[in-house]
Subunit: 338 residues, 2 copies
DNA sequence: GCCTGGCACTCAGCGCGCGCGAGTGCCAGC
DNA sequence: GCTGGCACTCGCGCGCGCTGAGTGCCAGGC
C-alpha cells in the first residue's frame, strides 16, 4: 500500500494540475505545499506513483499529470465533498424558488448547475416510472375524437389524441373518466396495466372499442414516456476544456446531442449516492476525456431522476461534487413542495 | 455599376472560398472557372471589387476572401435557391412523417435541418399568439385546487395549477368550463381577454373570487407563453467552422444558450419569405462571424413561427437556403394536417 | 479602351538549428 | 530513509533564410 506521504503527494499533484493545467514537477510541489521533505524525496515518491499507474509524464523530462486511475484514487480516498458556502446556498435557493412549473424548474436547475460548476449541466426530467398518477382527464374534441391528458404527481402533463372507432357520448365519457380515475389515481405507473384490464367489460358493446383504444393509448403513453427526456446547458463551458479542446469538443458535443447516450450514461450511474465516472470509465468513447458527476434527486426519500455535470477529467472534484449534491437536494425539496 | 464579368468573378471567389476555405488567387480562378480572360485581367477586376469593399485580402500577397458585403451581393444578386433533389425531398418527408406529437415534430425538424445543412439548426415552437384555443379544461384536484389545461390548435398543451380563494363545487366547475369554452374555443389568443371580462358576474358571489383567479391564470398563461420556446441542435457542426473555430465557437455557444437572443434574432427577420443575415448584420455581437438563414413556417398560409440555421458566413448559401425552405414547407404541411 | 504577358516585389508559412531551463534518475553520504 | 549533488534529457521558443503563391504595375497589342 502507498504510504501516507505518497498519498499527500498525489493529492498535491491533482490539486496543482487542476489549477494550472500544466504538468507539475517535484520542485514546484515542495514549494507550494509544505510536505516537509525535499524535492529528491518527492521524486522518489513520484516514481513510485508512476509505477503504480496513478500519474504519468506527457514526455520525458516533463512534470507529472494524474491518470484516470490517479483521479479515481483521489476521489475515493483523498477528496471530501466541499460543502457550499452560505451565500452559495442562498443563491441556489433564490434562483430555484422563482420557478413556475416543472419545465421551469428543470431549466433553472440546468442553468444554475452550469453556472456553479462552470461545466456542462445535464438534468433528467423526473421519471414517470416511479411517479404516480394524479389525474387522468378525457376531453371530447369531436364526436369521434378525444384528447387524453395524464397528470403526474411531479406536475408533468402528457397529452395524446385518440381517434375513436365509434362516436362516444358525453355520458359514457364521464363514466369512463370517473371509473378510470377511481382505479388509477394515486397509483404508480407500473401498477396501472392490471388495474384497467377489465374496464371495457363494464361498458356497452358499442363503446367497448373506444374504451379499449383509450386504454391502450394510456398504457402507450406510460411506456413511451419512460424514454425520459433531459435538458442540457452550459455547453459554452466546453471551451474551458484546456488547450486540446478543439480535438475533444466535437465528440462531446455529439454525445450531448444524443439523448440516448446521456440517458444511458445517467442510467448506469448508481441509484443512490453520488457517482463519479472518470475518463475511460465512461462507456461512450467520445466521453473518454471527460468526467461525469451525477446524483439522483427526488421528492421525498426516493430518487425519481438524476442530474449531473460533464467536464474535463481535470476538474475540481470536491467543488463539483458539492455543487451537484447541493443542487440535487434543493431541487428535491422544490419537487416535494409542489 | 459593376460589369457582368466582375460579378462573375465575385461569384467564382465566393464559390471557391466556400469550398476550400482558403483565400483564392487570380490564377486559380482562371483555371477552375473558364472566364475567358487572363489572370492579369482578373487581377484588375479583383482590385476593383476590393475598392468597392466586396472582397478583402487577409494580408498582402495573399488571395482574396469575400467580405460580408460581398456575400450580401452574392446572396441578393448572384445566387439562386438550390432546390432539393427528389431523394432529399423524400428523405425529408419520411423523416418528419413519423412524428407523434408537437414536441416530436419540432425535435425531428431540428435534427433534420442540422443534418441537411450540416450546421446548427434552430426551430421555434409554433407561436400561441397567432394560434387559436381548441379547448380549455378545468380539473378539480382538491376542494380548493384546480388545474387549468389549455389546448391549442397546433396541438400544444399548457397547464397551470390554480389555488382557489374558496372551495369550488363540481357543478360550478362544470358551469365555468362550459361557459369558458363556448366563449373562447376557436378564438385567437389575442382576442380572448375582452371575451371573458364579464364572466365572474354570471356566478354566485361566493364563487366569483375563484372564477376571477382562474381567468387571470388563463390570461397569464397566454401572455407568458408568448415568450416562445425554441429547440436547437447540431451544435457539433460548430466544429466545422474552420481553422479559427476555437475563437469563434465560444460566443456562438453562449448566444445559442440564450434563448432570448435567438428569439430576438428570429423575430427581427422579416415575417414573410426567407431572411439571410450575414456576419455583422446580426445585431448580437457574438454572432458577428456567423450567418443566419431563417424563414417563417406555419399551417395554412400564415406563418406561426420561424426556423433556420446558424453557420459560418462562409457557407453554401444556395444549398442552405434550399434546405431551410424545403423543411419549412413540409413542417407547415404536417402542422396543417394534424 | 480594354486585355495581356512580363516583371519586380511582398510576405506568410515552413523547416532548421540552437540554446535555455525545467525536470528527471541515480548515487553517495548523513 | 531522507538529502544534496550531478549529469542527462528534451520540449519549447527564437531567429534565420528560403520558397512560392499572389500581387500591382507597366508597356505593348488587338
Amino acid at each position: 500500500m502507498l504510504s501516507e506521504r505518497r498519498l499527500q503527494v498525489l493529492r498535491a499533484i491533482v490539486h496543482d494540475y487542476v489549477g494550472t493545467e500544466e504538468p507539475v514537477g517535484s520542485k514546484a510541489l515542495t514549494e507550494r505545499h509544505n510536505l516537509g521533505v525535499s524535492p529528491a524525496t518527492v521524486r522518489n515518491d513520484m516514481a513510485a506513483l508512476e509505477d503504480e499507474g496513478f500519474i504519468a509524464q506527457p514526455h520525458t523530462s516533463a512534470g507529472r499529470i494524474p491518470t484516470d486511475k490517479g483521479y479515481r484514487l483521489f476521489v475515493d480516498k483523498l477528496a471530501g465533498v466541499k460543502p457550499m458556502t452560505g451565500p452559495e446556498r442562498r443563491a441556489i435557493h433564490s434562483f430555484l424558488d422563482g420557478a413556475v412549473d416543472l419545465d421551469d424548474v428543470v431549466a433553472r436547475t440546468v442553468r444554475l448547475l452550469a453556472q456553479l460548476t462552470r461545466q456542462v449541466a445535464v438534468v433528467q426530467y423526473p421519471s414517470l416510472t416511479r411517479s404516480t398518477v394524479r389525474h387522468v382527464e378525457l376531453l371530447s374534441l369531436a364526436p369521434a375524437r378525444l384528447m387524453l391528458v395524464l397528470i403526474t404527481d411531479t406536475g408533468r402533463v402528457e397529452q395524446r389524441l385518440v381517434d375513436c372507432p365509434a362516436p362516444f357520448g358525453e355520458s359514457s365519457l364521464a363514466d369512463l373518466r370517473a371509473r378510470l380515475n377511481s382505479r388509477v389515481a394515486g397509483r404508480r405507473f407500473t401498477d396501472v396495466p392490471p388495474l384497467v384490464e377489465d374496464l371495457p367489460e363494464a361498458f356497452d358493446v358499442e363503446d367497448r372499442g373506444t374504451v379499449s383504444t383509450v386504454l391502450s393509448t394510456l398504457l402507450e403513453t406510460l411506456v413511451e414516456e419512460n424514454e425520459e427526456r433531459l435538458m442540457i446547458g452550459g455547453t459554452a463551458n466546453l471551451t474551458r476544456f484546456g488547450h486540446d479542446f478543439p480535438l475533444v469538443i466535437r465528440p462531446v458535443l455529439e454525445a450531448l446531442e444524443e439523448q440516448v447516450v446521456l440517458l444511458k450514461l445517467l442510467g448506469e450511474a448508481g441509484d443512490s449516492g453520488m457517482t463519479v465516472r472518470i475518463g475511460h470509465e465512461n462507456a461512450y468513447e467520445g466521453l473518454n476525456s471527460t468526467s461525469v458527476v451525477s446524483v439522483g434527486y427526488g421528492s421525498g426519500g426516493e430518487a425519481v431522476a438524476k442530474l449531473g455535470v460533464v467536464g474535463p477529467t481535470r476538474m475540481d472534484y470536491p467543488g463539483t461534487m458539492g455543487a451537484v449534491r447541493a443542487v440535487a437536494r434543493y431541487v428535491g425539496q422544490i419537487l416535494a413542495e409542489s
